[in-house]
Amino acid sequence: MAQRDLNPLPDAAELRSFARAAAHLLAQHPSPAPGARTVRRRAGVGLQHLDHRDYVPGDDVRHIDWRLTARRQRPILRQFEAETSSDWFLLLDASSSMVAGGAARWQGAVRATAAMAFALLELGNRVALVAFADEVVAECPSGRGASHFPTIARTLRGLHPAPRGARSNLAACARRIRGTASGFVISDFLGPADLRPGLAALRERCVRLHALLVEDPRELRLAGDGLRELVDVESGATLSCEADPLSAEHASQAQAELRQRLRRFATLGGIAFDAWDVAVPWQRALIGHLAGARAA
């Protein structure tokens, strides 16, 4: 029996489609939120050639690289240092809770991370990937350009969260962020204090921080009926609970409270926060998040 691919990535068409859609949301940063610091690598200086990317409607046609366009059979744009490119750190939660109750949340998180990496690289950003659990479990160093995406994709495919015992420690990622960078956290934020200490530490180091809470409401409905012993895959703690609609309602309410706590914390900390039900397509969730962040 063929082994199921636990980390399926979006195909190239999906990635390009998403990158085109997200380009105008990521190309220029909106005004930073209150309290955020904006640091450009070489702000307003020169037109140092940096990289190439696909042409997006609205780009200046003067920057099209016609020779490369003729070779690749599609419009390619030159990018310059003067553009609003910056360093991005994609922080993916690879703790045990991400794979509990089914693989939907984990697979959705992997797809979203890959899509964000592709879109950011297309815009000429330097992108690094950090996967964390108790500590950093995998890392793809910062890189730039389309040639860096396969490295990130390979790292994503190689991630296999431990089914049990791997807790979430977002603060472990903070020291990996050097210089001026933006951060994008994708997690279920299930852990001590909703991982808020980790978010606070990251916010201190990032010029801009995005947080995407990945949810799967289906997990909250326990299968069958009767009394069950729930086992926390990260801490090993147990809890007896009836598998009935009332318990599912209680769990949904607790999930909503977690979401509200995080949203309140994000608003106060200048963090672009959204919750994503994995039943919603990842393209719509990311575009909605980026649009919301841009509007804010």
Binding site: R164, G191, D232, H250
Partner: protein
């Protein structure tokens, strides 16, 4: 009223509360891995309220029922005090003939068993003798054992296989405990009660007597008598050897308890009447104080010699101490030199005649079956042969050959016969010891037994004279108090326990399958 044959097993009923105690914490719950139990923290408040003990796992009732049913089955329930159905096994071996002022042991045993049956209120009683277990004696009420003959002839026990005993009845054994085989049988058979007789424990008996003629003198008889002290004390007796009623010899013998002695006698004249031995003075077990044997098997064997045989053959027959010439009709052995027609039931020695042919001594071969013949004849064979034997048929045994030519053949069939082509008229052979030795050896082969080694004897076995109980079993004083439980069949209990066990196993398997399925669904 219900009773139990093995009430100790009822302690197993205590397992029921133990099983309840082990299940008190509730059923084994299906484990469901979740991302964080904190999400269900409020839901658990509705599942278990503080101060309220969870209900025990309902499976405890099923498992406790299995333990209770097995305990009851092992305790062998039955009806107590009603009308027990009893089979009384009577040990009627020779030692039970031992008598004192109260009568023989067998009579005392029947009286003891009757008292025990009366005390138990038994109505359905069957008595069986160990010497004849297939035959039953049925009695009723207070005289249940009256049908059993107390004066029946004693014989050695023929013990039935323990598994053949009827399990729906109680089995009692009445014995004096002196027979090791009976004691061993009682240990393996489902005997509910052993009634052991008290009584005298002193006895000396004659266990074996045997006699044989002296090989060199047919008129001399060697007699051996084995005497055993089967009691518990040192004893002294006088052994008398009797011919009919007249005493031939007497000898004093002293024996320690349990020891035996073999006394040898030589009688210069063979008595015409049966030979007997007697111990004086007699003791409580009179039946083993005397033993008698018939000497007829030692009488000379009637033989007839073919008139056509050479004279040395007739002389050789007459020289044999165990052979006696007779006419053809009465003969049990015929020496045939070609002139005697087939006898009726008489063994035959056929000596072939014909032209002599020289034998090469270096080519004589004895078969493995003729080792005794070779030892007796190898130095006394003639140097020539006469005539030719027919080829051996299937079943015939060739005893001696010259090269491939058979010289002596034992023919299969009834009556038995042995044929020889050895030259009985060879110079020096007929006049020497060779011919009498050949006739004696061929007679032994034809008759199938060594004529000079015949014995007459009688053997009772040592157990017949042992009267001391080998192992104390149950005391007669406890008879009245002994429970009489008629066993019920425990098959329904076992079947019910088996059904519950299958149910519980299926429930566990279903629970395990569900748990695994849930685990598969909830993890990658």
């Amino acid at each position: 009223m219900i009773g139990f044959a093995h009430p100790a097993w009822l302690l197993g009923l205590l397992l029921a509360p133990v099983i309840w105690y082990l299940h008190r914490s509730g059923p084994l719950l299906q484990r469901v891995p979740v991302a964080s139990v904190e999400l269900w923290r409020d839901a658990t408040a509705t599942a278990s309220r503080p101060g309220r003990r969870p209900r025990p796992d309902p499976a405890w009732r099923r498992r406790a029922a299995i333990a209770v049913l097995l305990s009851l089955a092992l305790a062998s329930p039955g009806w107590r005090g009603a009308t027990p159905r009893i089979t009384v096994w009577i040990d009627d071996s020779l030692s039970m003939r031992m008598a004192d002022a109260s009568g023989s042991r067998l009579q005392q045993a029947l009286a003891l068993a009757q008292r025990a049956l009366d005390a138990a209120g038994a109505q359905d009683v069957i008595a069986r003798r160990l010497s004849e277990p297939a035959r039953q004696y049925r009695g009723l009420g207070n005289n249940a054992l009256s049908a059993l003959p107390a004066d029946s002839q004693p014989s050695e026990p023929r013990l039935p296989p323990p598994e053949s005993l009827d399990r729906s009845r109680l089995h009692w054994l009445v014995t004096d405990g002196a027979d090791a085989a009976v004691n061993a049988w009682a240990a393996t058979a489902p005997i509910a009660q052993v009634l052991q007789l008290p009584g005298a424990t002193r006895n000396v008996g004659i266990t074996r007597i045997s006699a044989r003629l002296q090989p060199g003198d047919a008129s001399t008889l060697a007699v051996q008598v084995r005497v055993l002290n089967g009691g518990s004390e040192r004893e002294s007796r006088t052994l008398e050897l009797l011919a009919g009623t007249s005493r031939l010899e007497a000898r004093r013998v002293e024996l320690d308890a349990g020891r035996a002695a073999a006394l040898d006698f030589v009688l210069t004249a063979v008595p015409a009447t049966p030979l007997g031995a007697r111990l004086l003075p007699g003791d409580a077990l009179a039946d083993d104080d005397a033993l008698r044997i018939d000497l007829a098997p030692l009488a000379p064997l009637p033989v007839t010699v073919d008139a056509g045989c050479p004279a040395p053959v007739a002389r050789a027959v007459r020289a044999h101490p165990a052979l006696q010439s007779s006419h053809v009709e009465a003969a049990r052995l015929v020496v045939d030199c070609g002139g005697v027609p087939g006898g009726r039931g008489a063994a035959r020695i056929v000596l072939h005649q014909g032209a002599p042919t020289a034998l090469d001594a270096s080519r004589l071969f004895w078969s493995q079956a003729a080792a005794d013949l070779q030892r007796r004849l190898s130095d006394h064979l003639p140097a020539s042969a006469r005539g030719r034997l027919e080829p051996p048929r299937s079943g015939d045994v060739v005893l001696l050959t010259s090269g491939t030519t058979p010289l002596i053949v034992s023919r299969v069939g009834s009556p038995h016969s042995v044929e020889s082509v050895l030259d009985i008229e060879a110079p020096g052979f007929a006049s020497g010891p060779g011919l009498p030795l050949l006739i004696a050896a061929l007679a032994d082969v034809a008759l199938g037994e060594p004529l000079l080694g015949r014995t007459a004897g009688a053997d009772r076995g040592d157990d017949s004279s042992r009267v001391v109980p080998l192992a104390a079993t149950a005391s007669a004083a406890h008879i009245a108090a002994a429970p009489a439980v008629v066993p019920l069949t425990i098959l329904p209990l076992l079947l019910l326990a088996l059904a519950l066990l299958a149910w519980d196993t299926a429930a566990l398997a279903r629970q395990l399958a569900r748990s695994r399925a849930a685990l598969r669904e909830s993890t990658i």
